[in-house]
Symmetry: C2
Subunit: 498 residues, 2 copies
């Protein structure tokens, strides 16, 4: 195969892989957005077949021959092509070590587990979910052993969501957080808590929806390529850089929930929508890792939207949509949405205690990937760690171990990315402020300089660089968790008037 | 290949075809139910790839070898297997005559044309749709010439939606309708028109939605396998017998529009949901033809839901949901929803003038498939035929040639099925009444005996029989359009008190 033949073949193969990925993503989206319950059966059969073809495309002889051909011309390849070869080789090696029938069965299992988990959470019935969760854990243990026999099985999981992330890095990072944040949390506990009653006003759902679109426009999200839907749990699905779906959930008496989830998912969407066009339909399209992704989503959610200037800017809109808020001020709103209090639900947690929720999940995942816990042990282990880290009593599994969809979706190793991404965000904004007057932009409701900065340094590059490389280039320095703890200290001082 | 190997291979092939059909159907559904405008671009690329694979599955060597193997054992095959072979052979022959790149390009064209047509209709701008429509017409002419060189090109189109249907049969059928219905329409014109003001009451959208679910329950639709959505144009999509989607459109001041569309699409859904389980995931699953399909949908919409007993039964629900209706009676409702008046929009047309709308489309399709009209000629030809057949002036293309989605979806030859299906329905109910007291069931709100009758004779058989065979078996006699004209005469006499 000549180099130009290999390039053509790569293009064809990547386009086919795009088509299967797009179709499977659409089926998942459909399953999450109102497809009737029992339709998971035909959907599972279709997903089984399609994922089998996806497996063959990634691991088959055609892919091997192509990689061999490209490898022979390594010196002539562009950096994008070299990175593509590197990513495909890793994928091929890992995937091929898992027998195809097991891979397909696992995909079908995940389709089913979503339904089982949804029902279990609704009925607060962990027992009905336990056997499926055990199968998911078993499959992940087995895949780790097959795909990376010389690697710690949990390191293998972490690497899937953040290339190069290890327990060692996590432990160090969480250690810094613990040292700095535990005393800060104590300090906050002793301070006078802001009044949060404004968060419970009745905010009609159709008005909340209007607010969502206002927020999407503020973020500069192109609505001809980005759809907002409603689901039980907010998420972002990147079907293509030309087709991104975000979802939210509206609660009449908790408007901040949908408000900040729209901004959070909007941050994910911005990243996906702004990869350079030439990576669309290729293996380099889309965000590079989950920590980098969360660095964008949690940046917009917390550093931007929970900032004083943003709260001031959006306040008139909030009062217009919900006149009952008129008796409060923008400052009340700012303090209320930054109030810190150890709580039960991760996605509703404040910035300060958020990482503790992550640490609980990190410890549990590590334990079950190491065979120290089984599915049946998780509810009580969960409760114990919430008592230990957050000092709260978990009253039931619905607000405990069943709250998140990640494990039912097979996403073991994802959680640390949330905390790491949050910390990346704090260091990114420090760097950004060297050249962009972020506060002034936010106050003026013009986020375009902020977005342009991120697009140039992060979004446009897709998967071209390794996550650490990308993020360190953007930050202009190695990662340092101190930016994050400093940021949280400053914010708490402002909110609690230390 | 032994017979049992061939049977295994058929099962595998059909399951793969199911998966691709399911995925492509889901993508279409997504495209119709709110996917942002510009996402048609990635969706088109994915559909192009998937339809290419679908083409290869149907026409490739693997399929040919399988059909050869099965044909060698024809005597040992079950009737279902023989029918499967027959249908696959026809498909293979016709599809293979069309080059794959043209087939894929056509699928991509249809994906794009939906967007173009939607925009053209919104802006009443036929000119923007004309080039795409011309391409669709050209492709259909070419495919007809390639796939069935010895058949009239429009007969080829008709046969795709109703196996065995020809212009000759259509002409005969429409001739009977014209002879009987034109004088009846004249008679109705001279009679005193019922008061239809009740159809314009303000019926809040959320109440209309409640009504939809009530209607679905009345029809016995299993909501764990059948989803109701909202779209610009109501439709039914059968992804599987375990996953059927129906849609409606709500208008605040025209509740009957969504009410009867839910029953219409519900009739399609009942048919799809009740094929026997053993045909699921096979080529015999789902309804056999569009005329048989419309015989079910229009049966429930008109013969059942526009009947006097149904209007009486549903009336208290309507008044409860919309108290403004309290000043009218069930009889007023019955007369209003059966009022006949030549009008512009097919899907809003009354039963009596409905077939005239179909005849317009039939004549136009026949003309352009015969090369006697081009896309640019259609707006004026449409207006002329509406003047001739319905005596109405078409004020713009939005309520003229752009009203239906069929041509933009490549569905040329579908329209006659609506009229033919309506007529089948009238003959079916006559037969059904020999053993089921239809009026009493409807009055009691218990449609299960009606559904059981249809399931036994029609629904369960999927594509096992040819449409004519199936329908004549159900009716116990050859098709006779007189049942339909008699039915319409009796109904008009009741409504207009001749």
């Amino acid at each position: 195969m000549t180099l130009s033949e290999a390039r053509e073949e790569l293009k064809r193969l990547e386009m086919e892989e795009f088509a299967y990925g797009y179709a499977m993503g659409s089926l998942h989206y459909d399953g999450e957005t109102g497809a009737p319950r029992d339709t998971y059966i035909p959907r599972g059969k279709a997903l089984g077949i399609l994922s089998g073809v996806g497996y063959q495309l990634a691991t088959g002889e055609r892919s091997e021959r192509l990689l061999d051909a490209l490898s022979e011309h390594m010196d002539e390849l562009t950096s994008a092509e070299r990175r593509t070869v590197e990513l495909r080789q890793k994928d091929l090696r890992e995937l091929k070590s898992i027998p195809m029938d097991e891979y397909v069965a696992y995909r079908e299992l995940l389709n089913e587990s979503h339904i089982v988990w949804t029902g279990a959470k609704e009925r607060d019935d962990f027992a009905s979910f336990e056997p499926v969760l055990q199968k998911i854990i078993d499959a992940n243990r087995r895949f780790a052993a097959l795909a990376a026999p010389d690697t710690d099985p949990y390191d293998y999981c972490l690497d899937k969501y953040e290339e190069g992330l290890t327990m060692e890095r996590c432990d160090r990072f969480f250690g810094v957080l613990r040292d700095k944040l535990v005393p800060l949390i104590e300090k906050v506990k002793r301070a006078e808590a802001p009044d949060t009653s404004l968060l419970g006003v009745n905010f009609p759902l159709d008005r909340q929806e209007k607010l969502s679109y206002k927020l999407m426009d503020l973020l500069g999200l192109d609505r001809s390529r980005c759809r907002l839907g409603t689901t039980e749990h907010p998420f972002t699905l990147d079907l293509s850089k030309y087709d991104v779906r975000i979802t939210t959930h509206y609660y009449e008496n908790a408007f901040a929930s949908s408000m900040f989830s729209v901004v959070h998912e909007g941050g994910h969407a911005l990243y996906e929508l702004h990869t350079v066009d030439e990576y669309a339909y290729t293996g380099l399209g889309g965000g590079v890792s989950m920590a980098v992704h969360e660095s964008q989503s949690r940046f917009f959610e917390n550093i931007i939207a929970r900032s004083r200037p943003f709260c001031e800017h959006i306040w008139p809109t909030l009062v217009e949509l919900c006149p009952e808020l008129g008796k409060y001020s923008a400052k009340d709103f700012y303090r209320a949405v930054n109030t810190s209090k150890p709580s039960l639900i991760r996605i509703e947690a404040d910035e300060l205690t958020y990482s503790l929720h992550i640490m609980v999940r990190y410890e549990l995942e590590r334990a079950f990937m190491h065979g120290e816990l089984e599915a049946r042990d998780l509810p009580s282990a969960w409760k114990e760690l919430y008592r230990k880290y957050l000092g709260v009593e978990v009253p039931d599994d619905r607000s405990g171990v069943l709250q998140d969809s990640h494990w039912s979706g097979g996403q073991i190793g994802y959680f640390p990315s949330y905390a790491l991404g949050s910390a990346y965000g704090a260091q990114i904004v420090a760097k950004m402020k060297e050249t962009v007057d972020v506060d002034e932009c936010v106050a003026a409701g013009d986020l375009s300089p902020v977005c342009a900065w991120l697009e140039e340094r992060i979004w446009r590059h897709g998967k071209l660089y390794k996550p650490t490389e990308l993020i360190e280039n953007a930050m202009g320095a190695p990662f340092d968790a101190k930016f994050y703890t400093d940021y949280l200290e400053a914010k708490m001082a402002a909110v609690y008037r230390f």
